[in-house]
């Protein structure tokens, strides 16, 4: 049962501010993923919570108690790193038992605790081996075991599976998720991999240049990105972003991209919502994910004629580049649906999947149709 809270946290490395006024509340048993590119401040944030970095301003609270002045050892938090940092001269058992040395626990109790953790992580058969005899995945299991054995208040993980190969990474990701469901400890997990974040997190915290961009469930972050950065960071292939000119025509709203004469039909409600959000032509961008660009092979009501450009067949689906005037829009279609480059097809934007951003601030205008 551990809550963690950051209040107005600021951190400088010399003249560079790496964390800018960070506020975040993490609930008991929550799985939080800090997501961002290298250099965004995610690891520094994690290390500050662990007590491995000092902060220049603000408070870090664990269960309501400020801990920023406590040493790492007194915060009762366990950390798992990408490099496993096991003791090579000790057996797996000794490695896992190591954090219990200082606790004056009886030998029998240590044995019980280590075996319990080993069972959860399925490394019981490895207890007498040395780290050099283990695979990468098993080494990381041992490192996690060593973190868990103390029953810490919270688990902090810094790209724990980043160094493993793709297949093992997938396997370990599933294991970490199951472990969390079983143990239910408050977990903060740092990664730059958006699929990892989407698959593991209860809530994702997206950071960029030291600034928190958005906090939300994977679904929220994907479907309702708060700004252009989040919109283009989460999701693959990347969301299409096009400068848009909006006009009202009788009972519908038209959104033109790629120059005049290429206007997509939207419900009239869009105009009202854009007005309310003070979204003005000239600083308006429409965002649409490839699956929100609907493609037809024949002319249909509300569809614009467009030309197919490069087609990327990806097996179960294709990504088709469409030229709408001067604007390139990437669409996701059924495999083989558009036969080849140069083909004339028709496209429409699904209004319920469209996003509108202010290009000056980058912020989403919160339009929902």
């Amino acid at each position: 049962m551990t809550q963690i809270e950051l209040r107005g946290v600021q951190k400088f490395f010399g003249a560079v501010q790496v964390i800018k006024d960070l506020n975040l509340k993490i609930d008991t048993n929550e799985f939080i993923v800090l997501l961002g590119q290298s250099g965004c401040g995610k690891t520094t944030t994690l290390r500050a919570i662990a007590g491995l970095e000092t902060i220049d301003e603000g408070d870090i609270l664990i269960d309501g108690q400020p801990v920023q002045h406590l040493k790492a050892a007194d915060r009762d938090i366990a950390m798992v790193f990408q490099s496993f940092s096991l003791y090579p001269h000790m057996t797996v058992f000794e490695n896992v038992a190591f954090p219990l040395r200082a606790t004056r626990m009886s030998k029998a109790d240590v044995d019980t605790e280590v075996r319990a953790v080993a069972k959860v992580l399925q490394i019981t058969h490895l207890l007498n081996k040395r780290p050099s005899a283990l695979s990468g995945g098993d080494m990381q299991r041992v490192a996690i075991g060593r973190a868990l054995v103390r029953r810490p208040k919270a688990m902090l993980m810094d790209e724990p599976i980043g160094a493993l190969d793709a297949k093992l990474r997938e396997e370990m990701r599933a294991e970490i998720k199951r472990l969390h469901l079983k143990q239910g400890s408050t977990t903060i997990y740092v990664t730059h991999d958006q699929i990892e974040a989407m698959s593991l997190a209860d809530r994702i915290v997206i950071m960029h240049e030291g600034v928190l961009q958005q906090v939300g469930s994977p679904q929220e972050v994907y479907a309702h990105p708060a700004n252009l950065f989040v919109a283009q960071f989460v999701g693959s292939p990347v969301m299409n972003i096009a400068t848009a000119a909006v006009s009202m025509v009788t009972s519908a709203t038209q959104v033109a991209v790629g120059g005049e004469g290429h206007a997509f039909q939207f419900p009239a409600a869009l105009t009202g919502q854009l007005d309310a959000a003070k979204g003005e032509n000239g600083s308006l961008a429409m965002g649409i994910r490839p699956e929100g660009v609907l493609v037809a092979r024949e002319s249909r009501e509300g569809y614009l004629p467009v030309e197919a450009h490069i087609i990327e067949p990806l097996g179960s689906y294709d990504i088709v580049d469409l030229m709408v005037g001067k604007q390139l829009l990437r669409a996701r279609t059924r495999s083989g649906y558009v036969s080849g480059p140069g083909e004339r097809v028709w496209a429409r934007i699904d209004p319920s999947q469209a996003h509108f951003f202010d290009t000056v601030s980058g912020k989403s205008l919160g339009v929902r149709l």
Binding site: L181, Y222, S236, V238, P290, I310, E312, L314, G315, S335
Partner: protein, 361 residues
């Protein structure tokens, strides 16, 4: 512009056989991708064509001419590597001009200017021309490297994992750019990669290489829909094809050992496959569906969220298999579900050899 042919190429390094009886035919103007894991022989193949290695046996033809006695320079191919190897103290312009200023080429100043300008325009690096290359981003550097290849107007472009060192977003953007470039130049490209997404998305044709042997050549669609063996089936496609051992019995697929059974509808193809034959069943994740009244019970082992869709790992006894489901599907770990598969989309492989029964003939 060139047609490239490798005939029965074998290459050994000491005791190690890097390539074995390799036949490869790359048509003029084709974007050919050689796909394989580290050590499969991809780079060796490329270096043989470039003239940087000599085959132990077999012949290399460029436009029908055996080039065994031609040096690397005479073959007139351009190599683009993962490492950019630009001259750091030179500007982008100087880097692009460099290959043309060599004495053996004798290209006039006017023509150099023209070719460099055209390459810069093609690659959208005109605004970078006076910049020193050490002040470029990774993607810009790779564009300049490609530019250095383009200005020479080589007969063939050989590219060895040129996108591998770039980050994911940039790789995604450059994939289409490179394919677009190849179409506009109408040039022959041989592109080597270990990334099946690159192979699928860019190649007109893909050759899958494993342990020095060419396992299958075909369009991306051929290879995805009709993999030659279990290696190709599990290598191409993400997530990979589900492979499960079992046998056929009375028109049903029995997944061993007595884990579950599902209908199989291979049409005429299944005729003559004895019920006792040990098989490996292959089914793509998009052909497995969760249905409340599906024939088989499973537990949700893991859920991978891609935003646009979810990839669910299902567990039936000791067998796991993946299914692609719509993003809005709500699933919990260890939830009980039922699933079905598309009986028409099941591929059959011989269990012992791994070869698809369709390819075995």
């Amino acid at each position: 512009m060139a047609h490239i042919e490798l005939r029965n190429i074998t290459k050994t390094f000491g005791n190690h056989v890097a390539l074995k009886n390799l036949d490869l035919d790359i048509a003029d103007g084709e974007f050919f991708v050689l796909l394989g894991e580290t050590g499969a022989g991809k780079t060796t193949t490329l270096r043989l064509i470039a003239g940087l290695e000599k085959p132990t046996a077999g012949q290399v033809f460029i436009d029908g001419v055996d080039v065994a006695d031609w040096g690397a320079a005479e073959r007139d191919v351009a190599l683009v590597l993962q490492q950019y190897s630009l001259y750091p103290r030179y500007t982008v312009r100087e880097n692009l001009e460099f290959p043309l200023k060599s004495k053996i080429r004798r290209v006039g100043d006017e023509e150099i200017r023209e070719r460099v300008a055209r390459a810069a325009k093609t690659l959208r690096i005109e605004h970078l021309m006076e910049r020193k290359t050490d002040r470029l981003s990774g993607g810009e550097m790779q564009r300049v490297s490609i530019g250095r290849a383009i200005v020479r107007k080589p007969r063939v472009f050989l590219m060895d994992e040129p996108l591998s060192a770039l980050d994911a977003k940039l790789r995604e953007a450059l994939r289409t750019e490179l394919k677009d470039l190849q179409r506009r130049l109408g040039a022959t490209f041989l592109f080597v990669t270990h990334d099946q997404i690159e192979a699928m998305s860019m190649g007109d044709k893909v050759g899958v290489l494993n342990h020095g042997k060419l396992i299958q050549t075909g369009t991306p669609k051929d290879i995805y829909d009709n993999p030659h063996d279990t290696f190709v089936a599990s290598f191409v496609g993400s997530p990979p094809m589900n492979l499960m051992e079992g046998r056929l019995a009375g028109g049903r697929a029995i997944v061993a050992p007595k884990t579950f059974e599902l209908p199989y509808d291979g049409g005429a193809k299944s005729g003559g496959i004895g019920d006792d034959r040990a098989l490996t069943f292959g089914i793509r994740p998009e052909d497995v569906s969760l249905e409340s009244d599906g024939p088989v019970h499973a537990k949700v082992h893991d859920v991978e969220n891609h935003g646009v869709e979810k990839i669910v790992t299902l567990r039936v006894g000791d067998t796991t298999l993946r299914a692609t489901v719509p993003a809005r599907t709500e699933l919990e770990i260890d939830q009980d579900v039922r699933f079905a598969w598309n009986p028409k989309k099941v591929a059959l492989f011989d269990k012992a050899s791994g070869v698809s029964l369709r390819h075995a003939g």
